[in-house]
């Protein structure tokens, strides 16, 4: 299938296709200059007022990606960096903390991070299921349904990690008005192999390991918890907006209109706090650094950092080419606030069909950007354009060709929404032409999980993992099984490995032959490396309500589907343990596939890690007792027991006599 390339992108009133205009000092003094933009030179390095020496750096970004099914993925990203900040050493938790002074970095988040000595935090609140098959990889890989919180905390210090975790969930629950406080021990697991820090973890302690060997995460504990039924709504967005320096009065945050966002097919928000031990003090706001475009398309989180895994080349070793350059992270604590929504531009416009549809920021969000937030050093609106060369996963003999096709970057149109300040009150918008067609975006890995079994005593998971790449992928499949079901590890099987059906666009049978090991299911699963953490006792809490953690190491052969099955037993609960809506069933959080393999980055320079993939949550149907029966059962069982015991007692203690009648 060929994709039309006759696309027209309009930016009104200014049209800057394939341009990038950077206004480092967004006080509105420097109007955008076309020549600067054309030359692609860093705009901020020349002209403008002398840069103020700020401690914090604020940037914002709006990314728009037209999707295959006519919808539009929108992704807001607000980044706040407090330069040279370091997460608190947990050993100092007993004493007074140092003074906190932030310029743009939200104080309430800073206080929480320091109070509980959090090294890295990821909180996402999402509603809906991200459709990897039609929408491609999300801009931010954290698309788990419901609330997901995972936190790296250093061990040691006067306050235990468990207590800090409990305090942190309560603090975040209060800050974001979400039911995070129910992320108790019954939902918390500590994966060891699969999740990896996205930033870096400071070393507070002496290690015996050599200085450069920093890939180990010893001394740190990861807590991961998912609340699949927690939905995001306005009451979560309002406190989120309060964290932004301009609230929703200026900048791309103006578009954060709850009426539109929460009418989407998928929407969510995220809070990501990381720490980076940058080599230099420079920041990407001061000197223009191109952003890896593949990151936008694929949502990769692999950046140069001490803790990235995999045997890949050190990106610092050789100067990266301009197109695939890895961002040099400035040293400091970075807080990234994201909002994402998949909107259907046709929605609510009767009389318009998908064919005639054209979208603008105005009809996507019901608002527009009128002015910039003055404190941001960079504010972008980017639209991903369909690629001319994009052909989809054409079956080809050359294995290496497949990933590069799949992962080829789409051209990006970049806009700067800075118009109002220089040109008065003229409005500004991005309009999509009606003829625009969108490339078929594909994810390298897709994952489905379904529930087997029809009765209320037993069941099973069927997990199908497809690898569309031309090379084998190593991955961890993480299943955090809630306490209401107990998996039988002996039933964990890789049932079959099948080649993917060859794509219809294939012009030869190469894809079929490329698959060499059809029934090699035993080599796919390595039981020796499997991590199984059964529910364990901890003080004060019954192990009855603890989840089981499974980290399953898998090797997914190139261009094939691996089917994994696992059976489980459903637990019969006490009647007081059932929720008020017991017949609805229990949510089982989504499984996560975390690839550890690295694939060649865009245009073959360096390597990057594939992003993780989530499945949708499932509903498990548990047997329920009759909730109106406690008294009846006590009476009936008690009556039977009393009857039997009474008759036995009567027989044993009384004497027998024969009497003449």
């Amino acid at each position: 299938m060929r994709w039309s390339t006759t696309l027209t992108w309009l930016a009104l009133p200014y049209l800057y296709p394939n341009n990038y205009i950077n206004l480092a000092n967004a006080q509105g003094n420097g109007p955008p200059s076309g020549s600067k933009a054309q030359s692609g030179q860093p705009a901020s390095s020349e002209g403008g007022p002398p840069p103020r020496e700020l401690k914090d750096v604020a940037t914002e970004l709006l990314l728009l990606r037209p999707l295959k099914d006519g919808k539009v993925a929108t992704h807001f990203e607000f980044e706040y960096l407090t330069r040279n900040g370091v997460p608190r050493d947990p050993s100092t938790l007993g004493s007074e903390d140092e003074d906190q002074h932030y310029e743009f970095f939200p104080l309430s988040m800073g206080q929480i991070l320091r109070e509980y000595a959090v090294a890295e935090l990821h909180l996402t609140l999402n509603t809906g299921r991200w459709r990897y098959d039609t929408w491609g990889s999300p801009e931010n890989p954290a698309v788990a349904s419901g609330a997901e919180l995972w936190v790296w905390m250093a061990d040691g210090g006067p306050v235990s990690v468990e207590e800090r975790w409990k305090g942190l969930t309560n603090a975040l629950a209060g800050l974001f008005c979400a039911s995070l406080s129910s992320l108790s021990g019954s939902r918390t697991t500590s994966p060891l192999h699969s999740f990896y820090p996205e930033g870096q973890l400071p070393l507070y302690f002496e290690t015996t390991e050599p200085e450069n060997n920093t890939t180990s995460r010893s001394g740190y504990t990861l807590h991961h918890a998912v609340l699949p039924s927690e939905a995001i709504c306005t009451e979560n967005l309002t406190p989120f907006i309060k964290l932004l320096p301009c609230k929703s009065y200026a900048g791309v945050a103006e578009l954060l209109n709850p009426h539109k966002l929460f009418g989407g097919w998928w929407y969510g928000m995220g809070v990501h706090a990381t720490w980076h031990d940058g080599e230099t003090d420079s920041i990407d706001g001061g000197t223009e650094v191109p952003i890896d475009p593949s990151k936008l398309g694929m949502g990769s989180k692999a950046r140069a950092g001490k803790y990235t895994e995999g045997a890949h080349n050190d990106p610092k070793a050789k100067p990266p080419p301009p197109q695939a350059q890895v961002i040099k992270q400035a040293r400091g604590v970075k807080l990234k606030l994201t909002v994402g929504a998949v909107r259907d531009p046709v929605e609510g416009y009767r009389g318009q069909t998908a064919e005639t549809s054209q979208w603008t920021l105005e009809n996507l969000f019901g608002k527009n950007v009128t002015k910039l937030c003055p404190v941001t050093s960079k504010a972008d609106v980017r639209v991903l354009l369909p690629s001319k060369e994009h052909k989809g996963p054409v079956g080809t003999d050359a294995k290496a060709a497949v990933p590069s096709l799949l992962l080829s970057p789409l051209p990006v149109a970049k806009y700067h929404p800075h118009a109002g300040s220089s040109k008065g009150d003229q409005s500004w918008d991005v309009v999509r032409n009606k003829k625009a067609k969108v490339a078929n975006s594909l994810t390298p890995l897709t994952l489905t999980r379904s529930l087997r079994g029809y009765d209320q005593t037993r069941g099973g998971f069927s997990i199908a993992i497809s690898n569309h790449l031309g090379s084998d992928v190593d991955a961890w499949y993480v299943e955090s099984v809630p306490w209401i079901i107990r998996p039988y590890l002996s039933t964990l099987h890789v049932e079959s490995v099948e080649p993917l059906p060859s794509p219809s666009t294939s012009n030869n049978g190469g894809a079929q032959q490329a698959f060499t090991s059809p029934n090699n299911a035993s080599t796919v699963l390595d039981l020796k490396k499997l991590r199984y953490v059964p529910p364990s006792e901890s003080k004060g809490e019954d192990s009855r309500t603890k989840p089981t953690l499974l980290e399953i190491p898998l090797r997914i052969p190139a261009r094939s589907v691996v089917r994994v099955s696992l059976e489980f037993e459903k637990v019969f609960l006490r009647y007081t343990e059932h929720p008020p809506d017991a017949q609805r069933g229990w949510e089982i959080p989504g499984g996560v596939l975390v690839p550890t393999s690295v694939v060649p980055a865009v245009q073959g320079e360096g390597t990057r890690r594939l992003s993780r993939v989530y499945t949708a949550p499932l509903l498990a149907d548990l047997a329920t007792p009759d909730f109106s029966m406690p008294y009846n059962v006590i009476i009936l069982s008690g009556a039977l027991v009393a009857l039997l015991f009474g008759m036995l007692f009567n027989m044993l203690v009384r004497r027998y006599v024969l009497v003449k009648s």
């Binding site: 209320q456 037993r458 107990r486 529910p535 364990s536 089981t548 009759d626 027991v641």
Partner: protein, 401 residues
């Protein structure tokens, strides 16, 4: 002998038919403490280096874990053959008990006893489901058979071994000690207790305690820590797993208010244990009969029963033919059992399989089953108590005062 042989062959044929595939997870035939599926899981966990007692799933005794992870792999076909063999041995031992009790041999009577065990549907299907209840029954009958033969050390060892997997079996100790000290002969009609020496009793109890400690030590070695006690014996006493079974506990503790849970756990445990004292005292003249009644009492009130527990009690009545005339209501008891045996699988499936019935259906069926078991137990007790008076003659009636 030929009958016995053909019955065993029939059992083998059934074991290798496709029937067992539908029974492994049947809640009437297996309990969380005896399920074959869980046994497989435990062995798998142990062999792959995980602690089998950590996951709240595996509750078999460490001795069984050791047996099935080393000597006998939990292969379906091996186990089916072994289970059939166990049943054959148990039937043989039951006949042996009768021989020791009557002091005679009568192949026809022995065949009836063997057939009553091998053809008992409660026992047959439990055995086909590879429930370890069959293992417990075999040990129980073997211990009684050894005690009836006067083999003190092996009998006590078998009882200690049985206690590892079935905690309530420790209640059989007093009658078995008496049995070892007085012999198995029937004295039901002449209730005069033979004199026993206290030192004899002391020595027997000491032997049992020694065996228990040794076996507990072995269990701890196998499990690696003391965690097995909470998961096996602790589960028997505190009922953490509320998977439905044919007993009286599961629904009671599903519906129990949280703040009364520990109180009623004590009450129910007392209910099982308390009958041991009066039954042993009342039947001290015939400890074998006391043992038999205690087996019935445990099967009636234990926390995780399977069909095999009352099944053993019902089959054991065949070794006391002298009491059959004194049973008051054998026919209603049989009818209750047929009624319950029909309702239990039906209502279980209606509730959990089809979803057209609710939990009360199955609960009601377990109550009927409780009535049936209670009727059999009380009738046997009654028969044992009135045997000395013989059949009342014309013009006389038996009264309790």
């Amino acid at each position: 002998m030929a009958t016995f042989g053909s019955l065993v062959v029939l059992r083998l044929l059934l074991a290798f038919s496709p029937i067992p595939n539908y029974l492994y997870d049947n809640q009437q035939l297996t309990s969380p403490l005896t399920s074959y599926t869980r046994l497989k899981e435990g062995v798998f966990l142990l062999q792959n280096g995980f602690d089998p007692y950590a996951g709240q799933l595996f509750r078999h005794s460490p001795i069984q874990l050791a047996l099935f992870s080393t000597v006998m792999p939990p292969n379906k076909y091996v186990l089916h053959a072994f289970w059939t063999l166990l049943d054959a041995a148990t039937a043989w031992n039951l006949a042996n008990i009768w021989k020791k009790r009557s002091g005679t041999t009568d192949w026809r009577r022995e065949t009836i006893i063997q057939a009553s065990y091998l053809l008992n549907p409660y026992l047959l299907f439990t055995s086909l489901a590879l429930s370890t209840s069959t293992l417990d029954n075999a040990l129980c009958v073997y211990a009684i058979s050894l005690a009836a033969s006067g083999k003190r050390a092996p009998a006590l060892f078998a009882l200690a071994l049985l206690t590892q997997s079935s905690l309530y079996s420790v209640l059989l100790l007093p009658p078995i000690v008496l049995l070892l000290c007085t012999g198995p002969a029937s004295r039901l009609k002449t209730p005069i207790a033979p004199s026993i020496r206290i030192s004899d009793v002391g020595r027997t109890v000491f032997t049992f305690v020694t065996y228990m400690l040794v076996l507990m030590g072995i269990s701890t070695l196998v499990a690696g820590n003391l965690g097995w006690m909470k998961e096996t014996w602790g589960a028997t006493l505190t009922v953490p797993d509320l998977t439905p079974n044919v007993g009286l506990w599961w629904y009671f503790f599903t519906e129990m208010f949280d703040h009364f849970r520990s109180f009623f756990l004590m009450v129910f445990t007392a209910l099982v244990t308390i009958a041991m004292i009066p039954l042993t005292i009342k039947f001290q003249h015939d400890p074998l009969y006391a043992t038999y009644l205690l087996v019935g009492n445990i099967s009636l009130f234990k926390s995780y029963p399977t069909m095999a527990d009352p099944g053993l009690f019902l089959s054991m009545i065949s070794i006391f033919p002298e009491l059959w005339p004194y049973l008051r209501h054998p026919l209603p008891t049989v009818m209750w059992h047929m009624y319950a045996a029909t309702l239990l699988p039906l209502f279980n499936n209606l509730w959990l399989g089809h979803g057209t019935g609710n939990s009360n259906f199955f609960y009601a069926a377990t109550l009927v089953f409780g009535v049936a078991n209670g009727a059999a137990f009380l009738d046997s007790t009654w028969a044992g108590l009135i045997a000395p008076y013989g059949k009342p003659k014309q013009g006389y009636t038996l009264l309790q005062i």
